[in-house]
Symmetry: D2
């Protein structure tokens, strides 16, 4: 029998993709889609490409907690209390926000401010299947990784495990959808077109998440590029010792269905609207350069959420992807 799923916050980019994937999923049944400002409109009116003919409703826990699982697509801070009340009713949750990604409450509060449900931090599993598959399968609360961390961690985990990570610089390039759907001056077409813009230099909130999973300090700098969706991380590693690293990547990802290790640099088009992460490794004098691409809204967010749901409910990991 199909498990039912609600998407809370379905009118944003991430929520809409998650809804579309669940709506056409061979197993799960998309039961509710909720939205704040767009409630009362159909999801396929707000996001025609989703082709989900469900009405967006105002979120109401009494109404929407009758499901087996929920994907919560709220901003950090707003997510925690909603996750808490869904968990209280027994709903298993994949949370797309940052609220449960950091194991350390102190680290969270340094970067994000007060935590809205600190009691749940210990229950959450970091939802990167390639690293934490087994824990995810048994989890009731999965903290879906940020888009940059997904790419950066997959790019560098084999080196981290081998103790090869010395100094790390990550220069990331992201499509504009990563910055959300609200129309702000920095997302105006004219502001984005024909330029590349570094932002949140030295203070992007995905930094502690990357550092937690890699166990290393990184300099992380994202750049906005004139692209709708897609993400490339260019990682510059001073290795702690010389070693043939290609074997590490083969070993790490040879059996992974959604990670492709390639020769040439990976492109964004190759992973667009897929759950793939594509990685290439380039030893150069004195350094290892690793590139990884993902679709920030898919493997970087919503298809990874579905991958996590599949695992949580014992389905084949790639079902519906």
């Amino acid at each position: 029998m199909a498990e039912s799923v609600a998407v809370i916050g379905a009118a944003g980019y991430a929520g809409a993709v998650a809804s579309a994937l669940l709506h056409r999923h061979p197993h799960f049944e998309l039961a509710h889609v909720t939205a704040r400002s767009d409630a009362g409109r159909r999801l396929d009116e707000v996001h025609p490409r989703s082709r989900v003919p469900l009405m967006l409703e105002e979120y109401d826990v009494d109404k929407h907690a009758d499901v087996d699982a929920a994907v919560v697509a709220y901003p950090h801070g707003a997510a925690a209390p909603v996750v808490a009340e869904l968990r209280e009713r027994g709903v298993r949750v994949v949370d797309l926000s940052a609220d449960f990604r950091l194991h350390s409450r102190a680290a969270y509060e340094d970067w994000y401010g007060e935590h809205g449900a600190p009691g749940l931090i210990g229950d959450a599993v970091y939802g990167l299947p390639e690293l934490h598959r087994d824990e995810i399968a048994g989890a009731d609360l999965v903290a879906n990784p940020g888009c940059y961390p997904t790419a950066a961690i997959l790019a560098l985990a084999p080196l981290a495990r081998a103790g090869l990570l010395g100094d790390v610089v990550i220069d990331a390039k992201s499509g504009v959808s990563g910055a959300g759907r609200d129309p702000t001056a920095d997302k105006h077409f004219v502001a984005v077109d024909e330029t590349v813009t570094p932002y949140k230099v030295g203070r992007h909130r995905h930094t502690p998440e990357i550092e937690q999973e890699l166990g290393a300090t990184v300099t992380f700098t994202p750049h906005l590029v004139p692209i709708a969706h897609g993400e490339l991380v260019s990682c510059y590693v001073a290795p702690t010792r010389e070693e043939d690293v290609r074997a590490l990547y083969e070993e790490a990802y040879g059996g992974e269905p959604w990670v492709e290790v390639v020769e040439g640099p990976p492109g964004m088009q190759e992973v667009r609207e897929t759950n793939f992460c594509r990685i290439s490794v380039h030893p150069v004098p004195g350094r290892l350069i690793v590139f990884a691409t993902i679709d920030n809204l898919w493997k970087g967010t919503s298809s990874q959420a579905v991958q996590n749901l599949n695992l949580m409910f014992g389905r084949d990991e790639g079902e519906g992807l």
Copy 2:
């Protein structure tokens, strides 16, 4: 001695380009730049590319009417009262809005609503130099044409004059800067990228302006394209009779410094950030197809305003362009 000019509404795209052109103009002196929401910031902070190091001030007629001329870059409706009070103080005005473009008050009120200074309609000259050069030279109030009308009228005027305009379809493609600087959902990068969007189908306010100048009825449909600035009009004319029309274009524009009649279809890159309009004419079975490109913010708005100011003050028409 240099005449002084104020730009009223300098923080929008059009006002910023006008300010930049006047600031580096060999003759005019840019005396004031005003803005509504950005007052208190320097123009080169809001629009670095302008490189105008003047402070944006709140508009105050008592303070800013000490100039010989003003370029008013306000939306329609808001422009008329400001134009009126500047004219009362003897300031010669180039108005970038639609408020004084239509000779008929009734037509204006049909398309735009109540007129804010109907008494001035009769004083205004339609500021398309290639059609009304002599009137502009003597005018105190010049209504700068809309961007689409500039391209469409220049494309079709030779046919109109020769009585050749039968049925006319104008399919226009415009860069996003034509829609203004306020960040709305339809100008979000993700909404504009990788698509073309017709808008205001059958009811774009530039229609009556084109019809007034051509003396013909037109079907005019603009489309937003994923381009920052630049504009192409594709005009489909059922001619009233067969005639070799190339000669008409040579005659009309052979001596015009800012109109280039070319063989192949014109491009937007060729006119970007210039005062040029580039035109090609293609007779095909049963129809004449005329293409014209301009930069919507330059010949379509602000460099044309400077061209008009040059004429109004007896300067060489191309000075500073």
Copy 3:
């Protein structure tokens, strides 16, 4: 039992999409992929996004005609002889070229030059399922429509059937993939970026195909826009009489799974990498304006080819799409 299919010319954009769709099709089995200049490379190396791990081979009828069906993705002229020899061996063919689209050999030779297999013209069915579903089901040779004709004919067929088509202007905007994969100067990124370029004005070869299916004369002008794939046709029709046309569209397409009639103008993003055609109809004074969007490589070419194959082999029309 699965029918086997070969894609002849799989290294171009259209062939690669057809191969990808057939490779993951639940019923058909992709047996061969051939290429001219890229033979000896794997398709997923040339087109990683296809994720088809088959080797591209030099086409050899003795080797590749052991299939139930073939999709021929050759340029016009080159296609006809290959289609002919495949047909001789009993292979059912969907031909993506123009070689069998026009019923009149004379018309073909006017627009394209000598025909390579005139004896087969009479056997071919024009493969637009929404117009010719029943004939396609029984056909051994289906001429897959051009991309512009697919959009233009779907946009205008309800008006044509009702005898409403007076004068017709079609202004089309297409992504660059429509112009093919060979790197020519006009497809250089710098030539395409930030401009819109009309091409083949008055002489585009899709014109006779549109006219054949609509039974009307049209002025058709395509424009290249800075977009990878996607296509919009803006159709301006002088109707022969006044009539409420919305009902015609509801009637024509209410039961069609792949045609969406919408209120606002359709976008390209909504149909990207789908088999959908999205249409809106706008009556304006004196004219009907109809917009339609498709993905030129999907409904405009390769997913439509699969839709045709599904019909030819008695499958559900949308299988694998």
Copy 4:
């Protein structure tokens, strides 16, 4: 009296911009423009935006060495012999190629192969005015810097001089015009659109040039972005000691007319088609991040060539820019 200048290789992007700048220069007279494959066409036909109505001729030293100066816009290897024969006839040269940028012949031959005019290496001055203004003024042969080196060296020179450069990673993003005008598969619009592509990882030939001028080893990795022209270098420096570096930049560039040190990250639009380099410096924990933008065809190539010519002939450095 005006000095006359020839542009040798005027049909490429760089040569066309140099020609356009010299054609409208208030002092220099553009005497000849030469081209290889486009000889016999007018430059404004090949590059309409240049608006240079001169005929492109096959280069012939007997015909074209009657000038005071030449800008040679040939690829490396092809440039050296032409530079040599022009120098023999007493023509002062700005060479846009890499042939005379490296002081060490061995380094040149390591990266580029045999040198075509090694005897001239010692005569050449590295044409970055902000570093070598006085030498340029007296030079007969100026090696115009590469585009990436221009941005990277300006970004890091103040740190280099202060002995602050520890480990350096440079992640560069460039518009496609930087890769030249020949239409290759990697510059096809469809290949570039909606992706970012690292290239020549670990082996880009601009590396030794950056290292020569900074006296430091760098890891330099360029990326192609979907932009026509413009360039951003993101420089990650592990400083050798803590120090307030802003003062260094103020001191270095406070009096420089073409270098703008700004607070926020610099953009490409702000420098497009200008001779400006825009720099921002961001101290973050453990590192200094420096961003710099230029237009790769202007300050990165051709307007810098004119800046050099101005210096060589005792003109004001910014004349005609």
